[in-house]
Structures are given as structure tokens and as C-alpha cells.
Subunit: 204 residues, 2 copies
DNA sequence: CAAGAAACCGACTGTCGGTCTGGAAACTAA
DNA sequence: TTAGTTTCCAGACCGACAGTCGGTTTCTTG
């Protein structure tokens, strides 16, 4: 039991907590390392001992937020488990939108993360929770004959994108409740149509 | 005819051209003003005479690129005018994906613009071309009784988001032709299902 | 009690976005 | 022609900031 390591982990966690708050409030560019140091009461050398760069610090923040969000969504979806894919999607979406209302999630995950970390790394992290859950649900739809196996990959990406877009739309709307209602209805219709058993051809 | 103004416009355009190239290549953060000055052979004072800040310069770049892309997509869609909404959407989407392959479009419009300009301003610009065209097409679908009027607004956003997501997916894929084919098939199926006349209820 | 390592400190550096003063060239009014 | 005005350009300068580096403290281990 090395007390130095405990201490190190403590300041590390503390830095992440402080940085999370500041990043959520002012964004990545708007948050200076100096501000983090001042707020955390930690020296420069200490911070750079734990994180190689500002990006790395941000990355650590994203990771923790992402994990929290993923678990929360998972918990919400668990309540509606073994329902049909459509209600399952809707439930997960509602949970997601509620979470995306928080500045921490919106600013860090939706706005800054993709550009700071790069699209590839970002999607790679999404794979673990968001995309993973969507694929599971779509897999169930495949089992019901509502979807072709091949479509799971692209459809999951598309659903994720629409979910994020709607979440941003709601979060930044002038009239939040109205946007909420509109988006909810639209998403419902959207999912319903999307998971219809494949018709041979649409009406001409 | 003031020759001073002509000269000013010339350097302004030159700066935009140089900045476009550098922004596309290295991104917004990765491009220093100094680099633009050096590449353009222009002094600091001159640049800041024409653009109040780096963001403003970027904004000007985004505007020109956006206009070009919009016109190109419009031209491609015009060839398939007065077709049914489904083929119209597919045609526009293909044109868009081809354009998004260019680093200039991908890096500047898809990756940097939303964060640098902010989501609101970005969507406001999209309204003019991307969203506008999508709404027109969806309006036609409404006229055919395939869609409710209320759904135009959210659906256009969702389609835009999926289009951008798929474009990024293709552009950054390891196997581009495969991703291209997969995305194309998925988008086709997606649009087909989305524009089906509203069934009363999906099969239980 | 050394010896060594992990955690921490803070002055310092280079870069970068942005400002400011000054001046030259093109135009206008007298 | 000349005095005044506007537009454009030049480049020294400034403050902020991310990241570095030699040194110090604090703890564990042999």
C-alpha cells in the first residue's frame, strides 16, 4: 500500500472533476490550463505529470462522462427490456435526450469531443455504448424479419446521428418543450417507418 | 472606379483562397495566421484590415465553400428534377457524398465549421442550401400523401444528419468502395422506408 | 539509514492571435 | 496643383497560453 499512489490517484481524479466542470461551462478552447490549475489548487508540474497534454486531460474527461452516460442509458433501457425493438428504441432515445440536456453531456460529448479527439477516435468510443446498444436492438429487429442483417451497421450509425442531431436541436431550441414534443413525435414516426417489415416496393 | 477597392478585393479573395487550402489541409486549429500570411505573401496589418479575427476569416472561407457545394448539389439534382421524391433524394445524396470526399468539404464544412462557428450559426447556413433542398423534396412527399406536414422540419434535420454521417463514414473508411456501396444501399432502403405512405400501425 | 522512485513545484520558453502607430497610394475638392 | 480624406498595407509590439525542465519533497524498499 503505497500512499503516494493513492495521493496521485486522488489529485488525478480531482483534476478530472474540475476540468469536467470547466470544459462543460466554457468549452475546450475557452478553458485554459491555468484556470484548471487555479480552480483545482494544483501546480502546473503536477498536472503535466498526470496528463501529457491538454488533449489527454480532455480525453480522460470524455471517458468518464461517456461511461456515466452509457450506464445511465443502459439502466433506463433495462426497464423496458424484452419489449419490441420500437419501444426499446424510443425508451433509449428519451433517456438520451434527457441526458443531452445537461451542459456536461452536450458541450463535452456532442460538441467538443468529435473535433478535439477526431471523428475516428470519437466513433471508436461510441462503439462501446451508443452504437453497441443500437446494434443490439437492430439485431432483434433482424430476428423479427423486419430488417436485413447487412443494414445493421449503416442503420445504427444513421440512428445515432439522428439521435444526436435531435438532442442538439432540442437542447438549443428557443422553445424547448415544443421542440421536445415535436422531436419525440418525429422520432416515433421515424422508428416506426424504419422498422416496418421490408415492403417489396414502395407505391409508385 | 476606385482602383484601391479592386486591389483590396483581390487580396481579400487571395487570402480566402490560401486560407481555404490551409484550413482544409491542417484544420482550423492547426493553421496559424502566420502560415496564412507567409503563404499569401501578405502582411499582418493587411489581413486584419480585411478580417476582424481568425474566426471571421474562417467564416468567409466556409461561406464560399458552402456556396460552391450548394450550387454543385443543386446542379446535380436539377438533372433529376420532377422525378419522384425518392430518386430525387438519392440523386442529391450521391452528389453530396462525392463532394464530401474532397478534404476541403470534409474538413472545413463537416468537421471544423460546426464547432468554430457554433451549432446555431452553422445550421443557419445549412438552412440556405442543404436543409432548404431537403424540405422542398419532403414537401413533394407531403403532396403525395406520404408524409405529414408537421414532420417536414424534424425529418429534414434527421436526413441531413444521416447524410453527413454517412458521408464521413465513407470518407474515413478503410475500404472506401465497400463503404460507398454499403452506405448507398442503406440510404436507398432508408429513404424507401421513410417515405412509405403512413401505415396505420406496424405489424405487432 | 541510504538509495531510489513517484509526486509535485514554478520559473521559463516559444508560439500565436490580436493591437497599434505610422505611412503610402489613390481619390476628391478647392 | 495642393490640401485633405479614404483605403490599404506594413511590421513592431503585447498579453495569453500550452508545454518544458531542473530541482524539491515525500514516501517505500533493501
Amino acid at each position: 500500500m503505497d500512499r503516494r499512489i493513492d495521493r496521485g490517484q486522488a489529485t488525478r481524479q480531482h483534476l478530472i472533476a474540475v476540468a469536467t466542470e470547466l470544459f462543460a461551462e466554457r468549452g475546450f478552447d475557452g478553458t485554459s490550463i491555468e484556470a484548471v490549475l487555479a480552480q483545482a489548487g494544483v501546480s502546473r508540474g503536477s498536472l503535466y505529470h498526470h496528463f501529457a497534454s491538454k488533449e489527454r486531460l480532455f480525453e480522460a474527461v470524455v471517458e468518464t462522462v461517456h461511461t456515466q452516460v452509457g450506464e445511465a442509458t443502459l439502466a433506463a433501457a433495462a426497464k423496458a427490456a424484452d419489449a419490441d425493438p420500437r419501444t426499446l428504441l424510443k425508451t433509449g432515445y428519451l433517456a438520451w435526450v434527457r441526458l443531452a440536456g445537461e451542459p456536461v453531456v452536450r458541450r463535452i460529448l456532442l460538441i467538443d469531443a468529435p473535433t478535439v479527439l477526431g471523428w475516428r477516435r470519437w466513433r471508436q468510443m461510441e462503439e462501446q455504448y451508443g452504437l453497441g446498444m443500437l446494434k443490439d436492438v437492430l439485431q432483434a429487429a433482424v430476428a423479427e424479419g423486419r430488417l436485413d442483417q447487412q443494414l445493421i451497421e449503416p442503420f445504427s450509425h444513421m440512428l445515432l446521428a439522428t439521435g444526436n442531431e435531435l438532442a442538439l436541436m432540442i437542447a438549443l431550441a428557443d422553445d424547448v418543450p415544443a421542440a421536445q414534443a415535436s422531436a419525440e413525435a418525429a422520432f416515433d414516426e421515424f422508428v416506426t417507418r424504419l422498422l416496418q417489415p421490408p415492403a417489396t416496393k414502395p407505391a409508385p
